[in-house]
Amino acid sequence: MRVLIADDHPLYREAAALQIRRLYLEAQVQEVASLSELHAAADQAPDFDLILVDYHMPGMSAAALAGLVQEFPSTPLAVISGVAGNADVLAAARAGVRGYIPKTSTSEYFARALQLLLAGGTSIPTEVLMEQPPSHKTPAWLAKMSVREKEVLRGVALGQSNKEIGRTLGLAEVTIKLHLRNVFRKMSVKSRSEAAVKAVKAGLS
């Protein structure tokens, strides 16, 4: 069995190769560090049984991934990536890859994913696909806020006390307290921490 691992991080590449050799004693694992090296390796001997590709190595993109899928139509091709966000997984699946293995996955998960891919199946983390992509729409509560209220909320999101926020904005502490009442009301939150979390999620920090 021949496996090609393309990843510009030698440590991960070596760890993955080691695990594959442990799982499949007969496996011949070839390691490359870039897309061009991958093409060079494939030119020499294209008959791989599995190709693992880092999504964030030099030269890689969703289009390049789709090109590889076309280039190796009968070889299961899986993405290995340190980032397993909704958008990346979706882009990889759309490019036609059969697998997406987060680098943070356990060795058991990795072994199961290889088993599925080599058996002709797929291994895409559907729980990531089901996540809602981050919304870029301005929340309704943010649109209702005054400039000053946003500044106060930004201070809360940074973990500042009322006194610190007041000092930064040149306002009395009591004024910050009153602004926060309005901020909490508009955000429909009951605590500073809840407001901070909501503010960070909205990109206000």
Partner: protein, 129 residues
């Protein structure tokens, strides 16, 4: 400037509108909270814009009590015509100016005078200058 109106939407509109004209504003809906804030730090505010009719305390009572803690406070009373209070009566009870609802932001700005660092401020309303 401290803005007090038990209707949150009115308080918010006044606060944001006056902020856009350059005033440093903060709005509250409960006059009791406004009074506590003024008593806690009498120098935090130099202007008070308050509605007349509110459930927990009238605007005139708020002005009177606020002045005990902060004598320097300029106070503007907002009232509906239906309240039947004349400007002279309001002024005699402590208001520096009276505005009648529906309130226009620019009229408030005229009554307050120029905001520090504000631009495009129109002249004072002759009625209150």
């Amino acid at each position: 400037m401290l803005i007090v109106d038990d209707e949150a939407e009115i308080a918010d509109v006044l606060s944001i509108g006056l902020e856009r004209l350059g005033y440093a504003t903060v709005a509250v809906q409960d006059p009791l909270i406004a009074l506590v804030a003024i008593e806690e730090d009498p120098h935090a505010f130099d202007m008070l814009l308050t509605d007349l009719q509110m459930p927990t305390m009238s605007g005139l009572e708020l002005i009177r009590k606020a002045r005990q803690a902060a004598p320097h406070l300029r106070a503007i009373l907002c009232t509906g015509n239906a309240a039947g209070m004349t400007e002279a009566e309001a002024r005699s009870q402590g208001a520096d100016a009276v505005l009648y609802k529906p309130i226009e932001i620019q009229l408030v700005a005229n009554a307050l005078g120029p905001a520090p660092g504000a631009v495009n401020q129109s002249a004072h309303n002759p009625e209150h200058s």
